[in-house]
Symmetry: C2
Subunit: 216 residues, 2 copies
DNA sequence: TGTTATGTACACCGATCTGTGTGCTTACGG
DNA sequence: CCGTAAGCACACAGATCGGTGTACATAACA
């Protein structure tokens, strides 16, 4: 393996996001590389099994620099979760080409590569409800449920808050079960979601039913 | 990472009480104390945050003795899960004072003290599907789903296997969500379960409903 | 240009972890 | 009673971890 001292990648002109805390264009993007590497490593290996040496090596950043940007590993973990790209979340709920009802169900179309919701994993691994990362995990979970609730309201659900919480629980159940069983559990969750949605949307739900009728 | 040095030693049904050639008790029960302490500590603190020193101290067993009973921590973790008392599981499904339908719902009456299904926690913490403990976790999850399916069949569900898998997913979702949000999510899961059961059991849905309102 | 913030290389510290080596004590069955 | 197996106390090995100290290099800006 090549271990020379030349940088393996050319880090071009800084992007707008790589500004320091005071807005001045300083530095060469070490912070971003650290967070980018943490996205990959924390997800693949978990938080506890990823050491700072490994993380810094993957980020091509010296360890000293890492500790000049963050007070410690805890802060990196927290920032990793805070910045977690809610692409799945936003990408689904913001689609205008789908009806609200379709959006609710589309949230269960998760690419099978996703190993486990990083917030669940972090909450379990950190094992400390006081940890900032655990706080972010709670915020995210609540945000997901709220998004579900909004869409449920838009779809005309009788009790949008309840349906939102229920659908969020299904997501978490599918994530946990997928992880433990090593088999995709999201189709099962989607089937449950279809039943719940049909039961929660009074009667005007006939805007787009492509699922079996389960009326009662 | 699990190093694969698992012996075929402890596998057999010899996990009765430690018995000598003629069933007499040998030793002073160190093995049992270790497993008992692991039940408590692994559940309370997690597997990774419980060191062998702490575990041995809690079990009032010298470290040396521990390593004479187990080849390593991995084996203790595996045995801790293998022996995990499925009291909640059996205690609910074996109740004859409840109708099958009531039994399905009673499985969601989880004492709030339970922090998180230890199998999910272990699967996340160990982060290695090859670890024997992960195998036991899968076995347990499948067993729970099968028990649900059996009871669902008994209750006359149209597709017992599917309903069993669905209810098992709800349990896991409630467990995960309870852990992350630090708030009991089992009532929500119970509400979903009620809907699913009503939808899955053809017509005899109204045979016995005397449970209180479950949704929150 | 010179200054300064930013980053680097690398040894090192103390803590903690799993696991052993060694010598000693004690319970229990014959 | 004695012999043996079970258990104990305790130091220590070896690895890894998070985090620092120090001396040096360089990009960005004035």
């Amino acid at each position: 393996m090549y271990t020379g001292r030349y940088p393996a990648a050319y880090h071009g002109p800084m992007t707008e996001m790589e500004k320091g805390p005071k807005g001045r264009r300083r530095g060469r993007g070490a912070r971003e590389r650290i967070l980018s590497a943490s996205q990959q490593l924390f997800r693949e290996q978990g938080v506890n099994r990823t050491g700072m040496n490994e993380l810094c090596a993957a980020a091509e950043v010296s360890k000293r620099t890492a500790y000049q940007h963050f007070t410690g590993k805890d802060e990196i973990v927290a920032e990793y979760l805070r910045r977690f790209d809610p692409s799945v979340l936003s990408g689904v709920f913001d689609r205008t080409d789908l009806t609200p009802r379709e959006r609710l169900l589309a949230a269960f179309d998760i690419p099978p590569t996703t190993p486990l919701c990083p917030f669940i994993a972090a909450a379990v691994e950190l094992h400390d409800p006081q940890h900032p990362a655990s706080q972010y995990a709670r915020d995210y979970k609540k945000a997901v449920a709220a998004r579900f609730a909004d869409t449920a309201r838009e779809a005309g659900a009788a009790d949008p808050e309840q349906l939102g919480e229920q659908l969020a629980l299904l997501i978490d159940g599918a994530a946990a079960r997928t992880r433990v069983l090593n088999a995709d559990a999201f189709p099962t969750a989607a089937a449950i979601a279809a039943v719940l949605i049909d039961n929660a949307i009074p009667a005007a739900a006939g805007d787009d039913r492509r699922w079996e009728e389960v009326s009662s």
